[in-house]
């Protein structure tokens, strides 16, 4: 077997050195009834050629986004990833290293995580960011739990325009961890969240752009939350939007929980992605996840270490701020490299291209009879109402090789009032020809 270096003579010599008569002797502690006598009923070893053939044939049965006009977003966005990103993250020194617990031989990982933390803080307009969490949805629930620790209150008010998966993750944790969630109904339009804040409200969670793509100013909500001693959590599922719209920090957010997939990370059928988490300096000791800090070495030179680990499970055990151990290291590296390549001007240009593509798309499909744009303001994704159930339209267009967007009913199958709602996204990869195909398809289907 190509991955196993020991030869049979090695094995014999090693058993002799150990003084064991056979390999079975090393498994003698396994109770008799649990010892398997031979290989399980699974395929036997295969060479690269056979494995590649078998797995490639599964991949070939899927419709890759890049092969069709593609307008799906709803929390995962298809962007161009510069070639240098994937090359660099595959360097073995990054790919095959562990969590940087031995800082003298992990300065590479530690330094890029410090750069990542800085980039996330700058993008979100916050003071401090951690070294990533699993994904946006888990970052969101970690924010809610952190708000509970800070305020000593147990109820989170969730906007109806929060991504439904994020809401559902909060509801799951709420049940088992023991906090309350007051989740609003999804209504593409306004809601008065401040009116729901009471003395037991730890935080209000909103999303920007919201699940239906609407770009909102939460400054006033932030102020009203703060007057009530409640924290404002702003969720961002399209991190690229922060190259174009006002940062959550400027709007008064106390915690930002975001999905960073759009920078450097492929769609990957939904994972792995990278959770971003930023807050104010004063809350840093309540943060979940790993943090990299600057320090000096014995020779007085600047260097980096994991720090404030007294918050973490491997030190604090049952008193930790979170049970999280692994994060999204390599995905955060991809994020860091992509954003470093873009820089200030590239990020703003890329965000502008996304918005321009979405504006063009909106103008074209708004003009299709029966289609009504829901949004007042949007970034690269918006919602439209169709004269027919959106899921039907999406399925029929998929048959014609167009992936038109996400019907809201995928998330809310029992809400009839959302049955005609379709989420549509455009990015820098959306071409005029793609838009022509979607517009044409919609005209044909809705006429």
């Amino acid at each position: 077997m190509r991955y196993l270096p020991l030869t049979s003579s090695d094995r014999a010599e090693m058993l002799a050195a150990i003084g064991a008569p056979s390999i079975d002797a090393l498994f003698a502690d396994v109770p008799e009834p649990a010892r398997l006598q031979g290989p399980l009923d699974l395929p036997r070893a295969m060479g690269e050629i056979e494995v590649e053939r078998a797995i490639s044939s599964m991949a070939a049965r899927n419709v890759a986004a890049g092969s069709v006009p593609f307008f799906i977003g709803a929390g995962v966005y298809r962007h161009h990833i510069p070639a240098a990103v994937d090359h660099l993250i595959q360097r073995g020194e990054f790919l095959t290293s562990y969590t940087p617990y031995q800082p003298e031989i992990a300065q590479g990982t530690l330094q890029y995580l410090f750069e990542f933390q800085t980039q996330v803080a700058l993008l979100t307009g916050m003071e401090v960011a951690n070294a990533s969490l699993y994904d946006g949805a888990t970052a969101c629930v970690e924010a809610v739990m952190m708000a509970g620790r800070i305020t000593g209150r147990r109820k989170a008010v969730l906007s109806g325009q929060l991504h439904p998966h994020y809401r559902e993750v909060c509801e799951t944790y709420a049940r088992f961890v023991g906090f309350a969630v007051d989740a609003q109904h999804p209504i593409p339009g306004g809601e008065d969240l401040a009116a729901l804040v009471d003395r037991d409200t730890s935080c209000v969670v909103v999303q920007n752009p919201d699940f239906f793509g609407e770009v909102r100013d939460y400054s006033e909500l932030a102020q009203r939350c703060h007057e009530a001693g409640t924290l404002l959590v702003i969720v961002v599922t399209e991190i690229l939007s922060l190259g174009a719209i006002r940062a959550p920090g400027e709007m008064g957010a106390d915690i930002v929980a975001a999905e960073g997939q759009s920078l450097g990370n492929a769609l990957n059928f939904g994972g792995p992605h990278v959770g971003l988490f930023a807050t104010r300096d004063k809350f840093v000791r309540q943060m979940p996840g790993r943090l990299v800090g600057q320090t000096t070495d014995a020779a007085g030179r600047r260097g980096w270490v994991l720090t404030l680990s007294t918050r973490e499970q491997h030190i604090r055990r049952e008193k930790a701020t979170s049970n999280i151990c692994t994060n999204s290291g390599l995905c955060s590296l991809a994020f860091t490299i992509h954003l470093a390549l873009l820089g200030e001007t590239g990020l703003k240009r890329l965000a502008c291209l996304n918005h321009a593509a979405a504006v063009k798309l909106a103008e074209r499909i708004e003009a299709v009879p029966g289609v009504r744009l829901v949004n007042r303001a949007f970034f690269n994704e918006f919602a439209v109402r169709l004269p027919r159930p959106a899921s039907e339209v999406v399925d029929r267009l998929a048959e014609r090789g167009i992936l038109a967007g996400v019907p809201a009913s995928r998330f809310y199958p029992s809400r009839n009032e959302l049955a005609d709602l379709l989420l549509v996204a455009a990015t820098e990869l959306t071409t005029d020809a793609d838009i022509d195909r979607l517009e044409g398809g919609l005209r044909e289907m809705l006429s």
Binding site: A64, A65, E93, Y98, N323, L350
Partner: protein, 520 residues
């Protein structure tokens, strides 16, 4: 001493000429690399993007004003920056990485190639299900392998890492208890457990009740049984445990746990020791997470992403988190809501469908080995660890007698009165070209050194490593503590001041202090 270790020790001799002062701060391949923020060349960009055609903004007047503060750098500088950073890392690709309990084994590159196929990497989780039958088939095939290997009938694939899998498992246990109207307050966790175990139990609202180890390094069964009662929700036990030992009484422990009406959670972080040789279900467990980034070789990536599927007994399967993939009349179906067969699901634990990129890698790994090869994986991992144990037994100190599984635990008695600590010893190992073992864990032995070589190391490499360990132990006994305390010397940085880092945290770059520092 062999030739090789003589060469290494000669490097430290006083007969070497002292180095001249560095002009650049760089020494050979040790290059000082500034932060990207200190390499800003405003206006530069590493990506060429077209100018957008004129359009009417629809941002509702919420345009971002002013600079964000991101540096501008061209592509060649970026490639060099991150390449240089990579060279400051130790990695499996560069050497033995014997971190106990972390399973740093070779990461096959075929797996990387396959995970990047557009049919997996470039598909969206919300595409119409009919456009992704191959993705569902891959997930279902992976599930079949994991169910067969564990012997458990169901598998929850969405957890993003081992700790997330633990959370999933304990939530499922609590859901099952609640479904039978049974509120319980305590979770039993051995003192040798990973920190994630007590953290997980506490996060799910349980009081953590620690169980001591017996004199053989295994859970103290009498103490365990004394603590079992009708308010115990679960036992969380790692097997093989974190001392690298198989819990011989697993089957009896399972019976006792079940007799008390509790569930048996097994931490599967060390499944690599028994994969293909033991099905955990045959030991009586109800629930176990699998770290795909340990047993099944998906890369650790400097700390993630991981993937932590949870195998579930029939009693827990109805509570598995969303989404579910089930065999329907029309092929595989994706269930994304609490309805139909998933009516009692505990709900969603993360966005979308799990770590697909890791699923592809793990399946490629399992198919490459096959059921015969996976059994060989466990055998070679255990053989390598026992070889280290046997060859180092007289030089280091073993806290527990007998054979070990995939990792071998030493304590610091062999360093008694030398003035050298476990930490010093680990740092000295770095200077000899090796990543240290896991230090000070598990907590139940003093100055723990937990060594896990994995099955992907050759005998020749292990022999080198053994000679270095023996030599270091001899140097320590000979009284050269200073050498240990100053280690590591041949690294991009010497020991770092972690206390200062925590006292006054600097967690991001800021323009002003950095400029001052540059001027210094």
């Amino acid at each position: 001493m062999n030739d090789w270790s003589r060469a290494v020790s000669a490097r430290r001799g006083d007969d070497l000429a002292p180095p001249i002062d560095s002009v650049t701060g760089n020494r050979g391949l040790q290059i000082e690399e500034a932060l990207i923020f200190e390499q800003d060349s405003p206006g530069h960009c590493g990506v060429d993007l077209p100018e957008p055609a004129p359009f009417r903004s629809r941002l509702g007047g919420l345009e971002r004003q002013g600079p964000i503060g991101l540096p501008g750098i061209s592509e060649p500088q970026i490639v060099r920056h991150f390449t240089r950073l990579s060279q400051k890392n130790y990695a499996i690709d560069t050497g033995l990485y014997p971190l106990g309990s972390c399973t740093m084994k070779h990461n096959p590159r075929l797996n990387e190639k396959l995970a990047r196929l557009p049919g997996f990497a470039d598909i969206h989780p919300l595409q119409p299900v009919k456009t992704v039958p191959g993705a569902l088939a891959l997930i279902d095939t992976l599930a079949h392998w994991l169910k067969t290997l564990t012997g458990l009938p169901a598998i929850a694939l969405s957890p993003a890492a081992g700790a997330h899998g633990e959370l999933c498992g304990i939530m499922a246990i609590r859901a099952a208890l609640e479904a039978r109207g049974d509120r319980r307050a305590r979770v039993l966790v051995p003192e040798s457990a990973h920190g994630t175990n007590p953290a997980t139990a506490a996060a799910c609202g349980y009081a953590v009740d620690p169980i001591p180890a017996d004199e053989t390094g295994r859970v103290d069964r009498a103490a365990l049984e004394a603590k079992l009662g009708t308010d115990v929700a679960a036992l969380m036990l790692t097997n093989p445990n974190t001392c690298g030992l198989f819990e011989r009484e697993m089957i009896d422990i399972a019976a006792a746990v079940h007799a008390a009406g509790a569930f048996f959670y097994c931490d599967g972080a060390n499944f690599n020791a028994i994969v293909g040789r033991v099905r955990p279900a045959d030991l009586g467990i109800d629930c176990m997470h699998l770290n795909l980034h340990k047993t099944f070789s998906t890369p650790h990536g400097g700390g993630g992403p991981g993937s932590g599927p949870v195998a579930l007994a029939a009693s827990l399967a109805p509570y598995a988190p969303l989404p579910w993939i089930v065999h329907g009349s029309d092929g595989l179906e994706l269930i994304e809501h609490k309805s139909g067969p998933a009516e009692h699901s505990l709900g969603r634990l993360k966005g979308f469908h799990g770590q697909m990129g890791m699923f592809v890698r793990a399946l490629a790994y399992m198919m490459s080995h096959g059921s015969d090869g996976l059994r060989q994986v466990a055998e070679d991992a255990v053989l390598n660890a026992n070889y280290l144990r046997a060859r180092l037994a007289d030089d280091l100190s073993l806290p527990f007698p007998g054979v070990c599984m995939h990792e071998v635990l030493f304590d610091d008695r062999f360093l008694k009165d030398t003035g050298v600590t476990t930490l010093d010893f680990a740092k000295a190992l770095i200077d000899e070209g090796y990543h240290p073992m896991t230090m000070y864990f598990p907590l139940i032995v003093h100055g723990a050194m937990l060594i896990e070589p994995t099955e992907t190391e050759s005998k020749a490499l292990l022999d080198w490593f053994i000679s270095v360990m023996k030599r270091l132990a001899a140097v320590a006994r000979a009284g050269d503590a200073a050498r240990f305390r100053s280690a590591p010397e041949f690294t991009p940085r010497h020991r770092l001041d972690e206390t200062a880092a925590a006292r006054k945290p600097v967690l991001r770059w800021r323009p002003e202090p950095a400029r001052r520092e540059a001027a210094d």
